[in-house]
């Protein structure tokens, strides 16, 4: 490592921050760009599982809340691609790579949604899992990203409440409505357990090394379990893992997820991956003429 890179590393490891125009080692720039790009992709793709349910929302209030939640996600994608652009990769290149399967997005957005129960479970638990990671990213060494995380965290606070409200309404409704939640939970639990990634120790995680991430994956997962498993169980709902249990030391035990499966999913082999990418590809063709017109000099 050259002296300049060493100095940079010491700077970020002691809590120092980096702004857009600052010099960065190539490795830092590459890892950071890929990380933020994956986050942007995830917000973008996160819209797709939920969009159908705006159209099908069973009350005007739910329609409005879900529209606003999804709007936030599109807005977040916009802000995050802007950051990636300032790091050197234009949005068009990101979208091209996404459609070509060359870049990744979070596992949870590779799964289909089947019912209104999914709407509640996703807004409540998937957003809860995401917020835990996002709060840890508030300490990211790259300041523009950390600042965007503040806005994102603030906006996402209502998503979880909306999700929980949907779930609570269903579990206090008809037996069929309650069953919608249980059935959705049974399907979403596995992707939720995988969400925070494999339990690589912080010391071995290059993202932590450069202080892009400040929280180890397992720590995030434990936080999620500690916060939300009791909330699920107190509603009389079950989770499909017989090993799930809080130890006396406060650490949650669980059936180890299949980490290879996670890799396969995020690489585009999830149950809904192909369909979602295809959907994105379709809309790209339509927008080519719009881009041309928008970018053209006014006549």
């Amino acid at each position: 490592m050259d002296a300049r890179t060493e100095e940079f590393l010491a700077h970020v490891q002691s809590g120092g921050l980096v702004e857009t125009g600052d010099w960065m080692p190539n490795e830092y720039r590459k890892r950071l760009t890929k990380f933020v790009e994956m986050h942007a992709n995830s917000e973008l793709m996160g819209v797709l599982p939920e969009r159908d349910w705006i159209l099908r929302a069973p009350t005007l209030q739910r329609k409005l809340a879900l529209t606003a939640k999804i709007q936030d996600e599109a807005g977040h994608a916009q802000l995050l691609y802007r950051i990636v652009e300032d790091l050197g990769k234009p949005r068009e290149a990101c979208l091209d790579d996404l459609i070509a399967g060359k870049s990744k997005f979070h596992n949870v957005f590779h799964y289909p949604t089947k019912s209104w129960g999914d709407v509640g479970v996703i807004a409540w638990l998937v957003d809860a899992a995401a917020i835990i990671s996002q709060k840890a990213l508030l300490k990211c060494s790259y300041a523009p990203y950390a600042r965007i995380m503040r806005k994102i965290c603030w906006e996402e606070s209502f998503h979880i409440l909306h999700g929980r409200d949907v779930v609570l309404t269903l579990v206090t409704g008809t037996p069929e409505q309650r069953e919608l939640v249980q059935e959705a939970l049974d399907r979403w639990w596995e992707p939720l357990m995988m969400f925070h990634g494999n339990p690589i120790p912080a010391d071995d995680d290059p993202m932590v090394h450069w202080r892009i991430k400040s929280q180890a994956n397992e720590e995030a997962r434990q936080q999620f379990l500690e916060g939300y498993v009791p909330q699920v169980w107190e509603l009389g709902l079950t989770l499909p893992d017989p090993k799930l249990e809080r130890g006396e030391d406060g650490i949650w035990a669980y059936t180890e997820p299949d980490w290879e499966k996670l890799q396969a999913v995020v690489s585009g082999n999830g149950p809904a991956s192909a369909e979602r990418i295809a959907f994105r590809k379709l809309s790209r063709a339509e927008i080519d003429w719009v881009s041309r017109t928008v970018l053209a000099e006014a006549a």
């Binding site: 807005g75 802000l79 802007r82 949005r91 600042r147 965007i148 906006e155 928008v294 970018l295």
Partner: protein, 97 residues
């Protein structure tokens, strides 16, 4: 496409603060998009949009000869205050006479 820097005022009396940036074909689009991104929840009382190229950045500042007297951290009055109080025969400050 041009990049516009967005500044926002959170509430009356607060300063304009940099909030982020928006890429848009022109100022008209930028205004619509900025309203959405930074104002749809009523979270700002005002926004400024500035084309990125209009922003002059100054980042280099020097203080080679340590002119600390101009700042609060250039003064350490603890020791002298202690000595002055001891001389005045009081161990701790008292209010009035």
């Amino acid at each position: 496409m041009s990049v516009f820097e967005v500044f926002r005022r959170e509430r009356a009396g607060a300063p304009m603060q940099h909030a982020g940036s928006i890429a848009a074909p022109d100022a008209r689009f930028a205004e619509v998009y900025a309203r959405e991104q930074y104002g749809r929840r009523g979270e700002s009382t005002a926004l400024w949009l500035v084309p990125r190229e209009a922003v002059d950045e100054i980042e280099d500042f020097v203080d080679e000869f340590d002119l600390k007297y101009r700042r609060v951290d250039g003064y350490s009055i603890k020791e002298r205050l202690k000595e002055a109080r001891e001389r005045a025969g009081a161990a701790a400050p008292r209010a009035g006479r």
